[in-house]
Symmetry: C2
Subunit: 348 residues, 2 copies
DNA sequence: GCTAGCACTCGAGGCCGGAGAGTGCCAGTA
DNA sequence: TACTGGCACTCTCCGGCCTCGAGTGCTAGC
């Protein structure tokens, strides 16, 4: 796609980009006159019209009816986004807001993510999204069994501050001391990752008495659920109300589908995995480039954040394809950068 | 209000209720002809028209323009709701869905609430809401300090399965053994309620060395935040996408304000506290009866759920004032009943 | 290669008039 | 007195018709 830009020739590109910006700003189809005046190309509207016709031929523009102005296609937005110099500028007010938010040290990564999603949704006026780090590779600090009468709570604490719990029925044959003694065994899991701890637990279970066996398997299952299975990872969402704004002229039906999916974490997670797909850096998915965003007539801007070298999570926004990409990209990039700092610090 | 019904006279009441039901069903203003045919009152449409005019005079009906049918006012809905015999019937399919959901024993109350909210939103096609139990009166099972290197995690576990955590910077002057020894002291909190434990901690802090002092205060603060302050209680929301449905003909602006507030837990909590206000039983708040629901053109149906005798939480739905009140009331009541059973069992 | 000019297209919005739904009222009836 | 049939009236909705204007595509000419 990036070569598509040079193939276009500088003037066509300038016209296309001017149309994208004008359309994003106004929401109205853009006419040749407007571009001739605004874009400062020093040519008449007739020339612009020729360029527009060519751009439409190439699939970058379309128009709702003969006598209307042009609007960008998804390919048009794509060209615009790809043509942006990499260091997109961040509005001062936004820079300050981000700096302000991260200035107060919050020590819980999950909390920071919630706040970041809110922050992004406020800055961009779209909905914010984040995928928190999974647990597989996180070292375990503590696993405890807590005797709660008829039930037992299994509690696991990870090095980076995650806490996973599960309540199970207490095996009838096990008394308080029994629970406590298994609890002591679990001390040995300290330092292992969630993944390794599971293997270790299966070992322990194999050697243990029949009574202990079940409970140990439950613990393994808890760690598995926390780190791998369905529901292990969830998606943090915020600012959905922004999407119901008047200005975001979504059709009711489309909006509904989008909001519905945002409520279904597992589905949303899958979409986010698709659209990030091991990207090293900021990535934009525009409308029909992905079947799901296509159905929503929406675009997603995401960036990974890292702890040290390793990518541990994703943050971004979702909004209409008619999106202020530059601003959204700048905000997401900046927040991801700060989050990486927080996550890296956490790691240490 | 309940007397308002008898004051109306049986036929006026019948006409009013028929209009409410027809309007809720169709969404169109209801004409006298329709009621004369449907309501089985054995009178002509002219008589119905007279009754309608009287009901409008009394403030139970209104009409959008001269030649349109009538629609109920909030007072009209109120009369309708109050006139319902108390044991409202639950549709069979709904009864089965609720029984099915509660058949699988889930041991974590917070999880059950999330599921219940989803369930209610699915059954009613409105948005589900729940306020989980606060912690103030919950006995503490365990409080732990977990040494995580540069930080310390404070972890509190309540009798009913809640887990609260907070991560703080480790006081520079305190080593691992120091943390552990304070941890041992915290064992004495077991069995106290969150509230009592705070007082106890202030005692301990007063007697402790300066180094331990701060940490103990942090623990007290953690318990306080978990049980009382802002953010102690949150609101579980589900099925927001139902509200964006085409059929719910909300104006964009109104919908936006509703969704916005649903995202702000503290604000939503306040509204829910207002509209439940120590009600012993199912309660319906209709449109302008509360300033906030008035602004949304929405109604809220809520019911408390109990653990033993004490009310511990609230569950309900929010939808347009043009709501199927009977169905919503029946569903909310049934779910609240089941939740009470779960919560009571939990308690034991 | 660009531009001025112009014919053409098509949607938006205003106006009209008829159809239809529903009302309010009145005179008549049991 | 309470209800009803009848009827004039009101108002929205909808389709048809028109004009206006924005914007296009094309062509001839610089």
């Amino acid at each position: 796609m990036a070569e598509g830009r040079t193939e276009l020739g500088p003037r066509k590109a300038a016209v296309l980009h001017a149309i994208v910006e004008e359309y994003v700003r106004s929401g109205e189809p853009v006419g040749s006159e407007t571009i001739a005046e605004a874009a400062g190309l020093g040519v008449s509207s007739a020339t612009i019209r020729n360029e527009m016709a060519a751009l439409e031929e190439l699939g970058f523009l379309t128009h709702p009816h003969t006598s209307a102005g042009r609007i960008p296609t998804d390919a048009g937005y794509r060209h615009y986004v790809d043509a942006q110099p990499h260091g997109v500028r961040l509005r001062d007010a936004h820079r300050r807001a981000i700096a302000g938010y991260f200035a107060e040290a919050i020590l819980d990564l999950e909390e920071v993510l919630k706040g970041s999603v809110q922050l992004l949704s406020r800055l961009t006026q779209y909905a914010g999204l984040a995928v928190p780090p999974g647990a597989s590779e996180e070292p375990i600090v503590r696993v405890e069994l807590i005797d709660m009468g008829p039930t037992v709570m299994i509690l696991a604490v990870g090095q980076h501050g995650r806490v996973d719990k599960r309540v199970i029925d207490r095996p009838g044959s096990l008394d308080a001391d029994g629970v406590a003694s298994i609890g002591t065994k679990l001390q040995s899991l300290q330092g292992l990752t969630y993944l390794d701890a599971q293997a270790q637990l299966l070992h322990l279970a194999a050697e243990a008495s029949a009574i202990d066996h079940d409970l140990l398997l439950h613990v393994a299952e808890t760690l598995r659920t926390a780190s791998q299975g369905e529901g292990a990872t969830h998606v943090v969402v915020g600012g959905v109300s922004n999407l119901t704004d008047e200005a975001q002229a979504w059709r009711r039906q489309t909006l509904r589908r989008l909001v519905e999916t945002l409520e279904r974490e597992q589905e949303m997670l899958r979409v986010l995995q698709d659209v990030t797909a091991d990207r090293e850096d900021l990535w934009v998915t525009i409308g029909t480039e992905h079947p799901t965003t296509g159905e929503w007539e929406a675009s997603i801007v995401t960036a990974p954040f890292r702890a040290g070298e390793a990518t541990v999570g994703t943050i971004g926004v979702v909004g209409p394809t008619r999106m202020d990409y530059l601003s959204a990209m700048a905000s997401v990039r900046a927040v991801a950068k700060r989050l990486s700092e927080v996550a890296t610090e956490h790691e240490a």
